[in-house]
Symmetry: C2
Subunit: 395 residues, 2 copies
């Protein structure tokens, strides 16, 4: 019972993504998460928007600020979006940097007092793209400076961490897919918003790292954690694939291929998608699994077989992009499978937005709409990206 | 359809626990986990005993060594158990201490090279009870010295951590139930094995901490994480209860009450049990949940509603002990519920031992029998403790 990806289906999907973004996801957050008293956003919301924890995650401050600026710059210049984006950036400025070392925090109280900083520096990457959109929206150099500064701190800290106690000894050094992958997306965003001069170099360098060290044609997978030289680490951590993460990387690279008209990049992205589908698609229940062992052995992480919202979001983007770039109906079928499974299980028919955490069989594990990890990012980015991809197709 | 806890049922249960320990759990591990080449034990086994990761967790080295010594000292002096316990202690001595600061590692390679040390010091508590049993079994002072030394390092590091970067800032300091709870059990074991002189003081102090700071009659729960003075922390972490952990603490304290003939201690343990059952027992599917919010709000940890093996083990002990101490049939009924649910879902009928990780509905999430966290500890300790409790009852 397969749905053909024809003009009618594409128009229907385009509406689903656009209306979902503008009439469901975005209103849920703008209505419930804005802290008018202390600034910034409170994302720990239950299914009906009720606040369950006043703490603020720094990732989510940057991500929502980015989304609002992105919508203002690329959908329509609604003043309320720009105002909210400025509200987010103000909280970033005032509370999210540690003056003692310039690094960003990870977790704050409602009032902006710091609770936790992490060993890595992804708060910086999300702040960078937020500042970038505000620079583009307002034309103010100060935002562009902050975007460049936080991007620099993101890459500097990841390449050469200072002042943090390493989690592991030097006995079995490893590196993760996250850094090159997030570097690609961050540089793509900053190239678009502030014309970051060395964006292409960072993207080239990151894609080269992924191709050389993480993409294994022997194991037919994208390795999440490898040795510094790309060696396979035959232990729990080194064998654990994160197919949703690899799907995300796949579409970043396909997008780069599309923008540059570079078929080699598109092929790399397709290969990452194919491998990640082979490992990640759950043949028994549907949906993309969180962690899968590259050799089919058991995984150590407890939530390995849960269905989180974001791997589905990233797979929906990757498969749609693959279909539109290649016209290959195989990708159209994959897109239908993941789209239909996700839309059957994740949306909350009563209060809108998506649930975040389902069991393997698609039943609900938690009623949370947001927390330190989930906020208005993967879902609305998927809705925006897929809507725009389909809209371009119709032109 | 309730089973009365009569003489026949108790005799049947005693057999189930004893035979399970000696004919199922113990042989599974002695057959599959011993590393004859590099020493110590490799616990990352699949359901059939096949090795899936050669790395060694330090907790499990200490815990299995303790179990073997405990069996030698309290069940029967089988030479093979003593030899294996010495084999474990030798690996602890040779590889599990960091010479640079005397602290113990958490995670090693097969060869004993260090991969990770943690901020806390529970490796030390498990090593302490392992050395204690060997001191009792062999009469050698050197083991007793090591038991005292590692116990001292365990309490010293937890009360005054040195040389570790704290995970959180000073903005919202908290403390956990784990330290006083593990201190009770460790001191009880060392009092029994080496006559630790200040064992009772440590136990009294820890019980006082739990009663004063963690046991909340207002919220009817045992708080896992509280402020330094026991204040309720109304955020995800402060609200998250760990009912299996509190059940474990409950029987440590009931046991202390039983040994001292102190009804007040028994009552504290019963109260902890009652509260933890109210929050932790899953009325819908059965079994004890991993995390539950004390106010009924959603929990942030992903695996909150999974059924892990060890909370069931600890609840089986706590409810049986409560029944035998009070004769109250309510506890007999609780024991039947948790015993029957656990024995229906966790044992592996094909290869023996228990699975560790089930979904909320009791279906299996992972085929692993062991990893860095699961090894021969909670299950065999439950089997031994319950068997011995029931055996004493018959005398």
């Amino acid at each position: 019972m397969s749905i053909e990806m024809n003009q009618g289906r594409m128009e229907e999907l385009s509406r689903v993504y656009r209306d979902g973004l503008l009439e469901d996801t975005l209103p849920f957050w703008t209505k419930h998460c804005v802290d008018h008293e202390h600034g910034g956003f409170m994302m720990s919301l239950d299914r009906d928007g009720r606040l369950v924890d006043t703490d603020k995650g720094v990732w989510q401050q940057g991500r929502f600020t980015w989304l609002l600026g992105e919508l203002y710059n690329n959908v329509e210049p609604r003043e309320e979006w720009l105002e909210l984006a400025k509200h987010g950036a103000e909280f970033l400025d005032q509370h999210c940097f540690d003056p003692s070392d310039g690094r960003m925090w990870f977790h704050l109280t409602r009032e902006g007092e710091p609770i936790r900083k992490r060993r890595y520096a992804f708060s910086e990457s999300f702040a960078a793209i937020a500042y970038g959109e505000l620079a583009k929206a307002t034309g103010e150099d100060e935002y562009a400076d902050k975007a460049r500064m936080t991007f620099k701190r993101f890459v500097d800290h990841n390449l050469n961490p200072q002042g943090v106690e390493p989690k592991f000894t030097e006995v079995r050094p490893t590196k993760s897919l996250a850094f090159p992958m997030i570097t690609i997306a961050t540089a793509q965003e900053l190239r678009d918003s502030i014309g970051l001069p060395d964006a292409n170099e960072w993207i080239d360098r990151s894609i080269e790292t992924i191709r050389r060290d993480h993409l294994s044609s022997e194991l037919r997978c994208v390795l999440e954690t490898v040795g510094p030289d790309g060696a396979f680490v035959d232990h729990f951590d080194g064998r654990s694939l994160n197919p949703g993460h690899a799907m995300e990387g796949a579409w970043f690279i396909m997008l780069e291929g599309k923008l540059r008209g570079d078929d080699g990049l598109v092929k790399t992205g397709l290969q990452m998608l194919n491998y990640s589908w082979e490992h990640g698609w759950d043949e028994e229940y549907g949906g993309i699994l969180y962690f899968v062992d590259s050799k089919g052995l058991p995984v150590q992480e407890y939530w390995h077989d849960m269905k989180f919202w974001w791997p589905q979001n990233e797979t929906i983007i990757a498969t749609l992009m693959a279909f539109l770039l290649t016209g290959d109906e195989m990708y159209g079928q994959m897109h239908s499978k993941i789209h239909d499974w996700a839309y059957k299980h994740f949306p909350d028919p009563e209060h809108g937005e998506w649930f975040g955490y389902l069991h393997r069989d698609g039943s609900r594990s938690s009623s949370l709409k947001g927390n330190l990890w989930k906020g208005p990012f993967h879902l609305p980015r998927m809705q925006l990206t897929c809507w725009k991809l389909l809209e371009l197709e119709r032109v």
